[in-house]
């Protein structure tokens, strides 16, 4: 079997000045995933570590660099699935975790559930020994600028989402 890894960095608009960063981040992540596969690592290890690298890269909207909600806060979602067993794990609306993808994998590996959300996901993270990080460490100047640009005093929370992609 010829190993392969394919990554994406989101379907939203990438401003010209961030395009090079974005492509470089994609290349770096694909190289990491491929190195894991070439050294005999599993597909699960490859996708999780690749996505964790992208979460740590502020050029992308996940982990550090996440877009902000209406209140200017970070709420993140993540999912993993293992094609061998159909095991899967997910977290939603999780806060103050550097790598939600690692938490999603722990949901898959350590619980009988598929998805943990919000405060329950945070409690699970603490129980698993995942350190809580300051919310500020996940927020970039670029994310804050976009949040402010899209924040209107009288904005309808539904209408202001129209046309935007996650």
């Amino acid at each position: 079997m010829l190993p392969v890894v394919v990554v994406h960095g989101g379907a939203g608009h990438v401003p010209k000045e961030r395009a090079e960063l974005s492509i470089a981040g994609m290349q770096e992540a694909a190289r990491l995933g491929y190195a894991i596969l070439k050294s005999g690592g599993t597909a699960m290890d490859a996708v999780v570590e690749t996505v964790a690298m992208l979460e740590n890269n502020p050029a992308f909207n996940a982990g550090r660099g996440s877009v902000l909600n209406l209140k200017g806060e970070v709420e993140m979602d993540a999912l993993v699935m293992d094609g061998r067993t159909l095991a899967c794990g997910a977290v939603s609306a999780v806060r103050r975790v550097a790598n939600p993808i690692h938490l999603a994998r722990l949901v898959m590996d350590k619980t009988s559930h598929v998805c943990l959300t919000a405060e329950g996901a945070s409690q699970f993270a603490r129980a698993m020994g995942i350190p809580e990080v300051p919310e500020e460490s996940l927020i970039t100047d670029y994310a804050r600028k976009r949040w402010k640009d899209n924040l209107h005093k009288d904005a309808n929370p539904v209408e202001c989402q129209i046309g935007k992609m996650g």
Partner: protein
């Protein structure tokens, strides 16, 4: 949103997707990413998908599993992705993109949005792009 799909030397397949969601989303809004079949799916017998785009549209058509349904019926990853993305655009006016692999290691990176940065590594070669046709 970021995502990855992979096939290892044993022929096992996996997917992962992670996101901060949509800009200025309502507090508590959850999109497709943590929903199995929407924000990703992996089955050794068919393939794996990680999507990105309009989360609510992806959820309405269960995009990842829809692509794998097309692949189960004999479509290639590229054909299946294009069919499902076209359906999402037509039925729910949603745009997005996907990375897909099948058990043989055939891969695709397809999108209906203007852009989607992507990269693929196989047989010591790195492929990448951001715009249509790359």
């Amino acid at each position: 949103t970021v995502g990855a799909v992979a096939v290892d030397v044993q022929g096992n397949i996996a997917c992962a997707t992670s996101t901060g969601g949509m800009i200025n989303k309502m507090e508590g809004r959850v999109g497709d990413t943590p929903c199995i079949g929407c924000g990703g799916y992996a089955d050794n017998q068919i393939g794996a998908v990680s999507p990105t785009g309009h989360g609510e549209a992806i959820m309405k058509i269960v995009l990842s599993r829809l692509i794998l349904f097309h692949m189960e019926q004999g479509k290639s990853p590229k054909e299946a992705s294009d069919m499902a993305l076209a359906y999402m655009k037509e039925r729910v006016s949603g745009l997005g993109g996907v990375v897909v692999v099948d058990p043989k290691g055939t891969w695709a990176a397809r999108f209906s949005s203007q852009q989607m940065p992507w990269a693929a590594a196989q047989q010591e070669q790195l492929h990448y792009g951001m715009f249509h046709g790359e």
